[in-house]
Amino acid sequence: MGVNPIVILGSVLYFAVIFWIGWSSRKASLNASDYYVAGRKVGAFVNGSALAATYFSPASFLGLPAFIFILGYPFWWALVGIIGGMPIATLLTAAPLRKYAPTSFTDYYADRYDTKWMRLVAGIPTLIGGLAYVILSIVGTALFLLAILKLNFTFSVILASVVIFLYIYYGGMVATTFSTAFQGIAMTVASVLAAGYVIAHYGGLNGLTDATLSISPNFFNLPYVSAAPSHAIMASWTGVVGFFFVWHFGFSAMPYTVVRFFTTQDIKSARRSVFWAVIIGGLMYCGLIIIGTGARVLVEQLHPLMQTEGIANAMDVFKHMQTAYGVAGASVTDYSMIAAMEALNSPFLLSVVAAGGLAIAMATAAGWTMVLNILLGRDLMGKVFGSTLPEEKPVMVTRVMTTVVLVLCMLLSFNPPALVLDISGAAFVVILCSVGPPLILGIWWARATTAAAFINIIVMTILSTGSWMYANRVLKSAHWFFLSDPANKISTPHQVYWVFVGFIFFIIISLMTKPNSEEVIKKYSLDIRPDL
């Protein structure tokens, strides 16, 4: 398998469009408002497309097909849960937060809970989740660069970091909003086109299903209806329902999507942008389900490396990629989506998919890096520790933070700690159980208190991170309940129960502690709800 000029041409065209958008909008990001929230002048469709591109990451584009490849049909419900969580955000957080119109994710915590120190506390899980996401975005970009240029993985990681760095350094939120909107379209076109190729290759959905069953007879098995489940983690309904909820509430409360509600023209645009994000993201996910379902059979029947001596199945293909290109850690299975596309032997398709993959990875890296550098610069340096530099030179401070974040994440990307979707799941659960309840209940429950917000964020960050790491280390997978008997493990993907425990814990602590002042509750809770 060598470098294909058509694949390179597709990627060059993609970068040309991104460069053109960045160049056209360069004058628009010269002041702080434009750099942070795009001057609040982005329309519904553009913002919706940018929302989808930012929210969906290589964890979606590479990770979801890889997990369908590993876990089978029951994992389709996880994708239904992710898209199903998006409309909820329309009324739960998008409209109220746009009405409140902050600049940064931590503004709401500082205002609603009436202390600047909430910025620091809310920043801790955001920083953990954010670094995890930038790492997985660099890994995703690197895997696509490897597929395009057939470079060594380590060199691909360095190149990916440089590409993402230049993209954010010269862009800010204006360039990232418009170029991200383009990226949203690119990733959806790539996914739908790839799914069309897969369905056409097998002559329809029936042919695809028969081919899948011929290689993986248990693929469509669910818990309790068959003696052999599709995978041990999917042998009980706690696994299926657990995966449904891991990413479900993310669109309403994850910092990198919440900030995109701030960039819309008005509340009406904020609500409509969710509708467009559901259409764009939903279509992409329809494509990913087909790609994931067909990945194993495509690789084992058609991939050129299957002709190599010593390679007998799809896992052998990935092991070969690991050896040949130095793909480190667990991320080699993430190559399954790209391998399935290589198997179809269409340079045109691979060029479109590679452009879509680069688009989704760069969009997420940009979205999260913006959240992190605003958190570290404007919020912590400026608002918490009193430095005037972020106000006087916001663009310079943000660029310094971008450099720090990307260098750190590049160093951690050389040996990824887990599959990209596992990194994503961990980040989601940690953030949703810690900062999720104070955000959502802060808007919708007048009784939410500052003490509960502090305690919930600290306790839930420690519990969710600790239990995830313990299960991953001791039980060899973060998807088992961390206190399980190793001989009789219970499936609880990513320790997802902490999300629900977090909400209950927050309510109990709020009821036990002193309410906030009436003025704060009116301004940051009652007044930002809809005028009924």
Partner: protein, 82 residues
């Protein structure tokens, strides 16, 4: 809690969760449901892939923004008359 949340939010939630958990429940109780034929293809492509993943969510997000815009228009008209 959730005082001021438009009623349509709860209706949308009922549609989305109702569909998903109904079919999860049916999958628990009907052996081999995903591969049973419906409209000429395995049923899971209809109830999970097309409707559960895409159509239901497009519908819910549409009724969420449309009903809120209608409500705001009505409210503005009432105010103008007063």
């Amino acid at each position: 809690m959730f005082k001021g949340m438009p009623k349509i939010f709860w209706i949308g939630m009922a549609i989305m969760y109702g569909w998903c958990f109904l079919f999860m429940f049916l999958e628990m109780t009907i052996p081999g449901l995903p591969l049973k034929r419906f409209l000429g293809v395995p049923a899971c492509y209809i109830y999970n892939w097309i409707i559960g993943l895409f159509l239901i969510n497009v519908l819910v997000s549409f009724i969420f923004y449309r009903s809120e815009e209608k409500r705001e228009e009505l409210k503005a008209q009432t105010k103008a008359k007063v």
